[in-house]
Amino acid sequence: MGRAGGQFVADVADWGEGMVKPRIVVGAHYGLMDWLLQRITAVVMAIYTLIFAFAVLGLKEVNQATWQALFSGGFMKFATFLFALSLFYHAWVGIRDIYMDYIKPVAIRLVLHSVTALLLIGYAGWVAQVLWRL
């Protein structure tokens, strides 16, 4: 393709039968948000780990009652829920990356993607139920 005339990306692909046709290469227009959110959720989890560590170290003794009291506070509920959502989203991107790297047949990959995503959504509901039961 020439340099002038506003033509962008043109790759040459063999479309079978020896016919070579220009092929426009474009991205799938996603990927940035997953990558960015994986980093943001990592920060959220790091901060929560510190909060959690200090909260547990601050307990006089660790038993069912103090444990329940710790998580029944509004702030701790909110922070823990945020942590769980971050963990699940982070895990989604990470596991999906592993599937994309190593699982070649598209049908199997699609099934694995779906099962993983649905499981993680289910876990998120479960976490909410456990937390707000306290």
């Binding site: 340099r3 962008f8 991205g27 227009h29 996603y30 940035l32 997953d34 960015l36 790297d101």
Partner: protein, 236 residues
């Protein structure tokens, strides 16, 4: 310096004759003037002309003689024989189909390179002389334009091994950033669209093998992170 004998173990495969690849052990007598690995390979070729490898400029400019040397990709013409442990094990670049012996089929590598539009896109009428840049704007291209496309980086990248048809690879992405960073280029947005893809760009997991092996000392990982940075600035 006296003549010295060096032991080699070289990957051999001739698809016309061999059922499968094998490693050939051999020793070669080197002259005192033989300093680089390529000198030894030329010496071996004189003994056994069936050994096939690519080479051209023999001084690290053309990028033809990239191969896997003692487990690490590099250019045979730049690596000192005396810096290597024996036997010197030579294999073709990993992850690409072998044509014969140390020669690989680079089609997939160049297909990815072509997919990023590796030339300046500027639709303004060309000025009478050149499109000017300030020295600072020109400096942005340092560490990017020097790539010789030897494929040492892309063929050492596990993400490129697993998805050579979908992941652009470190060499292609370095070239992509070379044009994104160029103030004379007008296709920034199209270039970012072209790369915003979970495979094309985001298969990079910052393993940094590319930085480790680049014979020109370039840093594709930094270029990739600069591309992500441009995407974030565009989207957020």
């Amino acid at each position: 310096m006296a003549n010295r004998t060096v032991r080699f173990s070289i990957y051999r495969y001739d698809p016309d004759k061999d059922e499968k690849p094998y490693m050939q052990d051999l020793t070669v007598e080197l002259e005192p003037t033989d300093r680089k690995l390529l000198d030894a390979l030329v010496r071996i070729k004189a003994m056994d002309d069936s050994l096939s490898f690519r080479r051209s400029c023999r001084e690290g400019v053309c990028g033809s003689d990239a191969m896997n040397i003692n487990g690490k990709n590099g250019l045979a013409c730049l690596i000192e024989i005396d810096s290597l442990t024996w036997p010197i094990t030579l294999r073709p670049l990993p992850g690409l189909p072998v044509v014969r012996d140390l020669i690989v089929d680079m089609t997939q590598f160049f297909k990815q390179y072509h997919s990023i539009t590796p030339y300046l896109v500027n639709n303004d009428p060309p000025p009478e002389r050149e499109r000017l840049q300030s020295p600072e704007e020109r400096e942005e291209l340092d560490g990017l334009y020097e790539c010789i496309l030897c494929a040492c980086c892309s063929t050492s990248c596990p993400s490129f091994w697993w998805n050579p048809d979908k992941f652009v690879g470190p060499a292609g992405l370095l070239a992509a950033y070379r044009f994104l960073a160029d103030t004379r280029d007008q296709a920034t947005s199209e270039r970012l669209d072209n790369l915003e893809d979970p495979y094309r760009l985001f298969r990079c997991h910052t393993i940094m093998n590319c930085v480790d092996v680049c014979p020109k000392g370039l840093n594709p990982t930094r270029a990739i992170s600069n591309i992500k940075d441009m995407m974030v600035r565009r989207a957020v």
